[in-house]
Amino acid sequence: MVKTLLKSVRQYKKPSIITPIFMLIEAFCECLMPFLMSQMINEDALASSGAMSHILKYGLILVLLAGISLTSGALAGKFAAQASCGFATNLRHDLFYKVQKFSFANVDKFSTSSLVTRLTTDVTNVQMAYQMSLRIAIRVPLQFLFAIIMSFSINASLAWIFVVIVPILFGFLFSIVRVVMPFFRRIFKKYDALNNSVQENVGGIRVVKSFVREDYEKEKFNKAAEEVRNDFTRAEKIIALNSPIMTLFVNMAATVIAYLGSKAIIDSGTLSGAFVPTELSALITYGIQVLSACMMFSMVFVMMTMSVEAGRRISEVLKEEVDIVSPENGIKVVKDGSIRFENVNFKYSKEANKYALSDIDLEIEAGQTIGVLGGTGSSKTTLIQLIPRLYDATEGRVLVGGVDVKDYDLDVLRREVSVVLQKNVLFSGTIKENLRWGDENAKDEDLVRVCKLAQADEFIRSFPDGYDTYIEQGGTNVSGGQKQRLCIARALLRKPKILILDDSTSAVDMKTDALIRRAFEEEIPDTTKIIIAQRVASVEHADKIIILDGGKIVAFGNHAELLETSEIYREIYDAQTKSRSVEEKKGEKDHE
């Protein structure tokens, strides 16, 4: 996992290496300073005649060290910022680019919100962990080491105290971490549940208020809130041990050193021996450095463990195998809009034991209009998704223009096979910008032309801003029928050889639906049109109609043939024409 992630460091390798170097220099200076300071105010030296020069000499060295420390500290900060932000930027870049390569199957595997979380929160967490490891994780052991060395060089017999204390402290700190981590994992889950209940409440507020369930909801929420509180309080109570334990150890060490140190100096019988009083305070300073290094270490450890999950989720995306890739030197020209399915079987995953499509054999000529009918779960959408290679057939071949779809350059194939998806979306931006998804270089006249074809021109012009009307994210400010027509126009702009409408006129009224179909017949006769619909009326004039049931083609023919041969077709037809009988009656009246 770490390896996968670190691949994204790239051009920020330099600052990533420089940062710890500067950190090292800073740590070195910081460690040297207490010792030099203690030397500077060494009473023995101060008492001598050369005291002034002694102070100035040490003062100069110290100022120099502080200067170096400041510069390297600041530089380390700057480079760390570059390295970590750069790393995060690259990670987001890699994630986004990777997702762009995803096939439909890959997209299905990760939910939208989980992908967004991975690209945002998770990357931020990894970024923080990375910066922390560059700055602190490398500095802390160094600080620890320097401080220990300095302590020993000052007074080896007293420095042993640290060697005794450190493992004990470590033991305490890590047991706290170990006890607390499972708590946090549980808290995160409960926290999610809490947020989920708020989200449900906000989303379903009309239901809540209609059924007068405010009190019930409050009770439910309070219970969840209390649960979070109880677990969180317990965890924080354990964490609350950290601070007193640190205080205890630091001061215990300081007191013992003060006592033994004083005794040692007194026993030596001189104030200017190998161990002088000012060194006593230096030793205590080092002691604090050593122990706080331990504390930092446990903090870094917690941070790292917390970001492990985030890192895992990111690398999961980065490592995801993309199952549909464009072949090298793929065919760049699609001859015509003919389609052939040869013994096609399909299932969504290898593990699935049921085929979503089986024994599909189909021949569609260029320019034909084909209707597709069938109940929910009859795999209508699945069938057409094989044509632009949104999924690959598990067995058998799909051919477009006489060539296996797998041999085409993917971009070319998808440009020539334009699909209006059932779950379609518009993006925030003007109508023009949305239409130009179909062809970014399209002229304004082209836009108007396709909008007229899709019967969208009229309503667009009724907006005050016309084609410059701003569409909100998800197209929430246009009606369902308007949205569908915009989506059709967008697909038409590609001038495809094959146009597929997946239940794309369900919210469009019948008359407009008919007008769209007529426009197709007249304006784009050479384009193969495949129309999935719920309404028989939308497909009854098609050249051929495919009836799907349980992933199999149960009937294939034109309207008249199917009325004769297909019971399912007749059933649907009868059910739907009953509700139209009035309309027809009225129509008859008009003729009279």
Partner: protein, 671 residues
């Protein structure tokens, strides 16, 4: 971690400011009308927070404060201890032998250890107390906020982005946690440490204190410069992060469309633009954040060196040392122990200042978060001046009604008349009359004009019309999600403004177009309609609404747990559940918004049948999308731009050959 997206920042593209035109007249659901912009701090937030804390945790906080003060003496006592060791005990011991000071040394050490023990206990107590207080306070905040939210009118939810409401519970309470649990205690403890340090420094030496004072001024200047920059760029970073997040979210949602249109390369170009901007901003913010620590730390070191030099000079020159201690001990000369102690103090001083500086941005963020939480709490709740209540009733021999406790299936409006101090009981029948109703979501734009209609008990009234004609709005008025501007609505002859909202809504059942299910079992979701319904009653309701069949086929039947708004069910199945939920409530009046989404013919037949059964014997208002529903209604209201332009039965309207006729024959969209 969570699949629930909490915040949905809207990217502020230049377009959104250019054109705010919305073709549909619905109340807008977007974050533009947010009262407190991100980062702003409402006046009085801090005192209010403190007040809240004290209200719930007075004694905890008093104890915590004492503990914090004790804790803050750590630096002080160690410095004093060291100073007297170095200046008094050690020289005396060296001069007179260990025995002479042994007792004193041991006594001092033990006293020291004793005080440290007190500090450890204090630190332990204060950390634990803060854990309890912080979590308790957060829990309280959440509960208060949620309770408040439940009392808010629908308008609030219609005019605020859901992501924004969510973030008050997540991001904002999180920053408050930091504020209460960490920033404020650190600030208090630091303040005391500084106070003690200053006092002690002045005690030891005025000259050296002056140097520290200068250093403090320099540090404050640096904090202002760098800390200010850091805060500024942090805000910018948050903004670019939000913009990028908005873009990513939109692209991920539309990923399949991206594929279909081979838009990948263009999406990449756009993404890189946002990503680069985010890089620029975050490098700046992080750089400022990263360098503040080392710079302050080393200013502390400079200060240390200068102190040493000056102290050393004083020591060598044997110049008089003036300090507060001089008042008691007379003016003495500088001693090495004083310098050591002073240096220790000044180091602690610098560290404390550094610590405080790290809290600055945290506090700003915490207060901004608290502001937003308080904003929610300060929202105006739904007003209810109704006093007519709905009670169980039983019929007396003479045909009059009296109130009973048990559920009789017979309901009555209990109407108290103040004028003559009498109470009348009117049977709940479901007779609804609207007279000349005007309404607009915002004063500038009237959505309904002069709407009048009546529905006799048991009648079915259908609303048809184009998108935005005002169909949903009418139903919003009947259950008082919104209050009418002008005119009257009467329910069984009572002005609905006089009826208590809860009781009014209890008498109305609603099946909405967008189905909302809650996390829990299928049974729980049906029972949502009536909490005291037995399992048998729920199952009966499910059978009535044709939901029983598919429920029985679920892996755990009625005990199957639904999550994520029932995402494991099909659209049609969810619809059936929502019908069952309304059926178990069994209200005399129903408001139905038929679903438009395409469900296959067979499920649709089930839904239709279920709805038809639900409608039987009730007064029903239906926003119709299906011709069959419209056709067998008692009255059809054709709405256009907020006015009823045609009304009558199906046959009458077809005969009339007007707008309804055109709608019916498919010339218009029947949304």
């Amino acid at each position: 971690m969570s699949e629930t997206k909490t915040s949905q920042p809207t990217p502020q593209t230049p377009h959104s400011s250019q054109s705010n035109y919305r073709p549909m007249g619905r109340p807008m659901r977007g974050g533009r009308g947010m009262p407190v912009p991100k980062g702003a701090i409402k006046k009085g937030t801090f005192p209010r927070l403190i007040k809240m804390l004290f209200k719930h945790y007075k004694w905890y906080l008093v104890v915590a404060l004492i503990c914090i003060v004790i804790n803050a003496t750590v630096n002080l006592v160690s410095s004093v201890f060291l100073q007297s060791l170095i200046d008094d005990v050690i020289p005396a011991g060296v001069a007179n032998g260990f025995e002479s000071v042994a007792e004193k040394l041991l006594g001092m050490t033990l006293a020291m250890a004793g005080w440290y023990a007190v500090i450890v206990v204090a630190s332990f107590a204060y950390n634990r107390i803060m854990a309890v207080v912080t979590q308790g306070m957060l829990c309280q905040l959440r509960k208060d906020m949620f309770a408040k939210m439940q009392s808010l009118p629908i308008k609030y939810f219609d005019t605020h982005a859901h992501g924004e409401i969510m973030s008050a519970y997540t991001n904002d309470t999180d920053t408050v946690r930091q504020l209460i649990g960490q920033s404020i205690p650190t600030l208090i403890s630091s303040t005391f440490t500084l106070l003690f340090s200053v006092a002690l420094m002045l005690w030891y030496s005025l000259w050296l204190s002056l140097i520290v004072a200068v250093a403090t001024i320099v540090m404050s200047f640096i904090i202002k410069k760098i800390g200010g920059g850091s805060a500024k760029y942090m805000v910018e970073r948050q903004r670019s992060l939000a913009v990028e997040e908005g873009f990513v979210e939109e692209m991920m949602k539309g990923q399949k469309v991206v594929k279909v249109f081979t838009y990948e390369d263009r999406a990449k170009v756009d993404f890189d633009k946002y990503n680069d901007k985010l890089y620029q901003d975050s490098v700046r913010a992080n750089t400022y954040g990263n360098i503040l620590g080392p710079i302050l730390g080393n200013v502390g070191n400079f200060n240390y060196v200068i102190l040493t030099i000056v102290g050393g000079l004083l020591l060598v020159s044997k110049l008089p040392n003036v300090g507060l201690s001089s008042i008691f001990q007379g003016i003495g000369v500088m001693e090495a122990g004083i310098i050591v102690a002073f240096l220790g103090m000044s180091k602690g001083f610098a560290q404390t200042v550094n610590q405080m500086s790290q809290q600055v941005s945290m506090i700003a963020m915490g207060l901004a978060g608290a502001s937003r939480v308080f904003t929610v709490m300060d929202e105006e709740p739904e007003k209810d001046e109704g006093y007519v209540t709905l009670v169980n009733a039983k019929r007396n021999a003479d045909g009059s009604l009296t109130e009973t406790q048990e559920r009789t299936g017979l309901w009555a409006w209990k109407h108290y008349h103040k004028s003559d101090d009498t109470t009348t009981y009117i049977e709940l029948k479901g007779d609804i009359v609207m007279e000349n109703v005007d309404f607009g979501y915002v004063p500038e734009k009237q959505v309904l004009t002069d709407v009048s209609l009546y529905a006799k008990p048991g009648q079915k009234i259908a609303f048809v019309g184009a998108t935005g004609a005002g169909k949903t709005t009418i139903t919003n008025l009947i259950n008082r999600f919104y209050d009418i501007g002008d005119g009257k609505i009467r329910y069984d002859g009572i002005n609905i403004n006089k009826i208590k909202k809860d009781d009014l809504r209890r008498s109305l059942g609603v099946v909405l177009q967008d189905v909302n299910l809650f996390t829990g079992t299928v049974m729980d979701n049906i029972r949502y309609g009536r909490l005291d319904a037995s399992d048998a009653e729920c199952i009966a309701a499910a059978k009535l609404s044709n939901a029983h069949d598919f429920i029985s086929r679920l892996p755990n039947g009625y005990e199957t747990v639904l999550t994520n708004n029932g995402s494991n069910l099909s659209q049609g199945q969810r619809q059936l559940l929502s019908i069952a939920r309304a059926a178990v409530a069994d209200p005399p009046v129903m408001i139905l918004d038929e679903a438009t989404s395409s469900i296959d013919t067979r499920t649709e037949a089930l839904v239709t049948d279920g709805m038809d059964k639900l409608m039987q014997g009730r007064t029903v208002f239906v926003i119709a999308h299906r011709l069959s529903t419209v056709r067998n209604s008692d009255a059809i209201m054709v709405l256009d731009h907020g006015k009823i332009i045609e009304r009558g039965t199906h046959e009458q309207l077809i005969e009339q050959g007007g707008v309804y006729y055109q709608l019916y024959t498919g010339a218009f969209e029947l949304e």
